[in-house]
């Protein structure tokens, strides 16, 4: 295997955190020939994605966020593939949103969510690599006075085939940087890939095993102070009063400040001092109108939506559901529900900001550099050319650090503004993080299916009732859809990247939107988590009512969904569905189409004493169109099951007196290594024009597969998450 390319802490610091200075990107050198744009270390930029050092090191630019999902390594592989550079001499450099804005968004979208990191930027980053290769080769050809068509590039070395002359990218980079960028940039056939598509190691591991990788919580700036913050525990409440004098004399305390309408922060020499003082500070809240809200009330609100007249239609593929259900030989009905869940990133929310009347900079973890930039812009009151954001490694993201308004970024700016000139690092305690998440939305679902006398599914009505994320965070999208949130239908939508993968003659999938005061957010997988549980468990219920095998029942509805059928067949075959399971072992399966990928899982579980579940094995198949790094895809699949099964078994955020009740991991458990099943990943990319996502899709198939297996093991159909509420444990 290839050695690990350099991804040093120093390069990370210089390029990403750029303490104080900012990069020299955008600096144009006068006055001979076309201007050359230079990277921080003076290396010439060939295209915005590639700069080459004289020593032949390749600087690859990345603007999507790295939170563990491997996107940066994957994007670098795509660029390096087209560039034909030496993979062992690749260094990643992180342009800032401010630099991108100054260059008319030269690097495009920074936002890293919706499993878009690789799939949405693959084409333009590959072109950035390919164009750079063409320019470097042209520069060598110019020097040799030969046609570029006689030259080939490999491993950062250019060879003139007829003469055998050789030069390196490093040697011709200055000349290449002065060339016009080609307009027609052909890309390689993925079948010929040598760097992309291979199970290469991540570029960012070294600093993660010796403590040197810098996360937001580790940022250090000269003269920096630390802040602990508390926001009104009831969403929608405000600060009424607090007495700063109460803690003014405590060790290390510098200042107590209000943060917006709803928060209070203590600024101290150390975070521990800040947190200790904050705990001693009595804050009087105006808790606002939501102090009576409870989980029971919210459940009632959603329940009423299950039979409400008004609902937004997400899928009405044809027929008349009402009439078909009325005429069905057999009707099956079930109600499912899914709770609020916190992301619980290992690294709590934090941000470090230095504000002066002339400039404001933020160092911190964000899944959306440009979104954070906009927040800093707004909160700082400064113009765009006086603001910047320096992203660092994220200690987990899962959607939490991409949901806007990015509350914690704004808070950090509002705190730093009250200490002009002094950098302040704000860190949330775990308790604050649990109390102020952007929660997986609550949803209930009533499913009614109609079978004919032969057990064919003739009608299906799936009524969702619950919260809309977009109504809270992107109301303009909902407005444009006349009130509908199209994302609510992920995995069951009428068309597109999250389309329904069954054909039912009479079909209606609709959503009664029921919003609450609890702020929702994008939680790894977003709405596929509940939708996969609803539809895939109900399919098992229907199959049973029809007296048919769960796999065969599904297959009959999937003739027009060959790629879903492909992944479903693959897991069924690998798990041995057609043969009886070993004694004491029970199986379940599920599949979905989401984020433009096709995913399926089949699992084997055993259940002891009726409630102690052991998941022995999950077979997971993914067809993402193209696979950029199979080793990282395997890790994403297995990792997503840890996140998804933790949610299935343990996780619920309950509401009492308007606030979230759970405060830490003792009440919000997460899977440990002892509970980890064996995961077998089947990666079966089938190409095509569309690239599918990786980080999220497979998360959703684990839970319904396990629930279906649990039913086979016990005869108990669990229709609400988490399983701990039913006395069921994961062992």
């Amino acid at each position: 295997m290839t050695a690990i390319p350099k991804f040093t802490r120093r390069s990370f610091l210089v390029s990403s955190a750029a303490l104080g200075g900012g990069l020299a990107l955008g600096l144009r050198l006068p006055p001979f020939g076309p201007a050359v744009v230079r990277a921080a270390d003076g290396s010439p930029e060939i295209t915005v994605w590639v700069a080459i050092r004289p020593d032949n090191t390749t600087l690859i630019r990345a603007v999507r966020a790295e939170m563990g999902q491997g996107t940066i390594t994957g994007l670098a592989q795509l660029i390096a593939e087209e560039l034909d550079c030496d993979w062992n001499k690749v260094v990643i450099e992180y342009p800032t949103p401010g630099q991108s804005v100054a260059r008319k968004r030269a690097w495009g979208d920074f936002s890293t969510g919706g499993s878009r990191g690789v799939r949405a930027s693959n084409e333009y980053v590959r072109k950035g690599g390919a164009a750079a290769r063409m320019m470097l080769v042209q520069a060598a050809a110019n020097e040799w006075k030969v046609p570029a068509s006689e030259c080939v590039a490999a491993n950062s070395v250019i060879t003139h085939k007829p003469s055998g002359r050789k030069t390196t990218y490093g040697k011709v980079a200055e000349a290449a940087a002065r060339l016009e960028q080609p307009k027609d940039v052909p890309l390689k056939d993925p079948k010929t890939w040598k760097i992309a598509g291979k199970p290469l190691k991540r570029l960012d591991t070294a600093g993660k095993v010796n403590g040197t990788m810098m996360y937001g919580i580790d940022v250090k700036l000269p003269g920096m102070l630390n802040a602990a913050v508390k926001d009104c525990p009831v969403f929608g409440g405000k600060v009424k009063s607090f007495d700063a004098a109460q803690v003014a004399g405590m060790t290390g305390v510098k200042k107590v400040v209000q943060v917006g309408d709803s928060g209070v922060a203590v600024i101290a020499d150390s975070w521990w001092h800040a947190k200790t003082a904050l705990e001693q500070l009595s804050i009087v809240w105006d808790e606002g109108p939501n102090t009576k809200a409870s989980s029971a009330d919210i459940a009632e609100l959603l329940k009423a939506g299950l039979d409400a007249d008004q609902a937004f239609v997400g899928n009405q593929a044809g027929g008349d559901v009402k009439a078909a259900l009325a005429g069905a030989a057999k009707k099956v009905e079930a109600v499912y529900s899914y709770p609020y869940q916190n992301h619980a990133c290992m690294e709590p929310m934090n941000a470090t900001v230095r504000w002066t009347p002339e400039r404001c900079e933020m160092w911190g973890p964000t899944q959306n550099g440009e979104g954070a930039f906009a927040q800093v812009l707004e909160a700082s009151g400064l113009p765009a050319d006086k603001v910047d954001v320096h992203n660092v490694m994220l200690g987990g993201g899962f959607g939490r650090r991409g949901t806007y308004p990015n509350d914690y970024v704004t808070q950090a700016v509002l705190i730093a503004k009250q200490m002009p000139g002094t950098p302040v690092k704000m860190i949330w305690s775990r308790e604050e993080d649990m109390a102020h998440g952007r929660y997986h939305p609550v949803m209930q679902c009533k499913l009614v299916g109609g079978l004919d006398a032969s057990g064919n599914l003739t009608a299906l009505h799936m009524r969702l009732s619950g919260q809309s994320i977009l109504a809270a965070v992107r109301p303009e999208v909902v407005q444009a859809q006349k009130g509908r949130d199209p994302l609510s239908f992920q995995g069951v939508f009428e068309s597109g990247e999250h389309s329904f993968s069954y054909t039912v003659p009479n079909l209606l999938i609709d959503h009664a939107m029921r919003n609450t005061h609890v702020p929702p957010g994008f939680w790894r997988g977003v709405n596929i988590n509940q939708n996969a549980v609803f539809i895939e468990c109900f399919m098992d219920e229907l199959a049973e009512a029809a007296g048919q095998d769960a796999l065969e029942f599904r297959r009959k509805l999937m003739a027009k969904h060959p790629r879903n059928l492909g992944v479903l067949n693959a897991v069924a075959e690998r798990i041995g569905w057609s043969k009886p399971a070993p004694a004491g072992i029970h199986r379940g399966l599920a599949h979905l189409h989401c984020f433009d990928s096709f995913v399926a899982a089949a699992c084997e579980i055993s259940v002891k004493d009726g409630n102690k579940v052991r998941v022995h094995r999950i077979v997971a198949a993914t067809d993402p169109g193209y696979a950029v790094n199979p080793a990282q895809i395997e890790r994403q699949v297995a990792g997503s099951f840890v996140y998804g099964l933790s949610a299935l078994f343990f996780q619920e955020c309950t509401v009492k007196d308007g606030r979230i009740e759970q405060t830490n991991f003792h009440q919000y458990n997460s899977m440990r290594i002892a509970q980890m099943p064996k995961v077998e990943t089947i990666l079966m990319p089938t190409g095509g024009t569309v690239w599918g996502g990786i980080g999220e899709p497979t998360i959703c198939v684990a839970a319904p597969a396990v629930l279906n297996a649990f039913y086979r093991a016990t005869g108990k159909r669990i229709r609400s998450v988490p399983m701990k509420n039913h006395g069921i444990e994961l062992v």
Binding site: R202, G211, N664, I673, M676
Partner: protein
């Protein structure tokens, strides 16, 4: 108060009830040891105290005075990585990496007392939370490190 961390002596002026974690991070300035929960649930703050793994968020600094403390920054011998760190690189274990300092320290301590742990031994000893879900690679890397001994 005097602390011995990674073989170096540090004089720190802190309240004796301050958690060892925050003294390591804020007074000593070693930020490889992470804050995850503050209540000894997640293990991200695991360090060695006289060779034994402790969750430093829940150890008052006064209890660490006089002890030999090792953090992730002190696990390697000079430029030679500890066998666990090496196995972690070979098996490409970390995803976001935030919990991995604590995970590696917990594993290094396990291998010291149990050089060839079974899967059951690993299950019992390694209770750190990893939200990215690196457990498959963690287990592989532990067995590889045990073999490398």
């Amino acid at each position: 108060m005097r602390l011995t961390i990674n073989g170096k002596s540090h004089e720190v002026d802190v309240d004796p009830t301050t958690p060892l974690l925050w003294v390591i991070r804020e007074q000593v300035g070693l930020t490889g040891t992470k804050y995850g929960c503050g209540v000894a649930q997640c293990g991200a703050c695991t360090v060695h105290m006289n060779g034994l793994p402790v969750r430093s968020c829940s150890v008052p600094v006064s209890a660490a005075s006089g002890a030999k403390i090792t953090t992730i920054e002190g696990l390697a011998s000079g430029k030679t990585l500890h066998k666990v760190q090496k196995a972690w690189i070979d098996h490409d274990v970390p995803q976001c990496g935030y919990c991995q300092s604590g995970m590696i320290m917990a594993v290094a301590a396990l291998l010291r007392t149990n050089p060839k742990p079974s899967d059951a031994d690993i299950d019992a000893a390694i209770t750190n939370i990893c939200r990215c879900g690196t457990f498959v690679q963690v287990r592989e890397a532990i067995h590889a490190a045990a073999k490398a001994a």
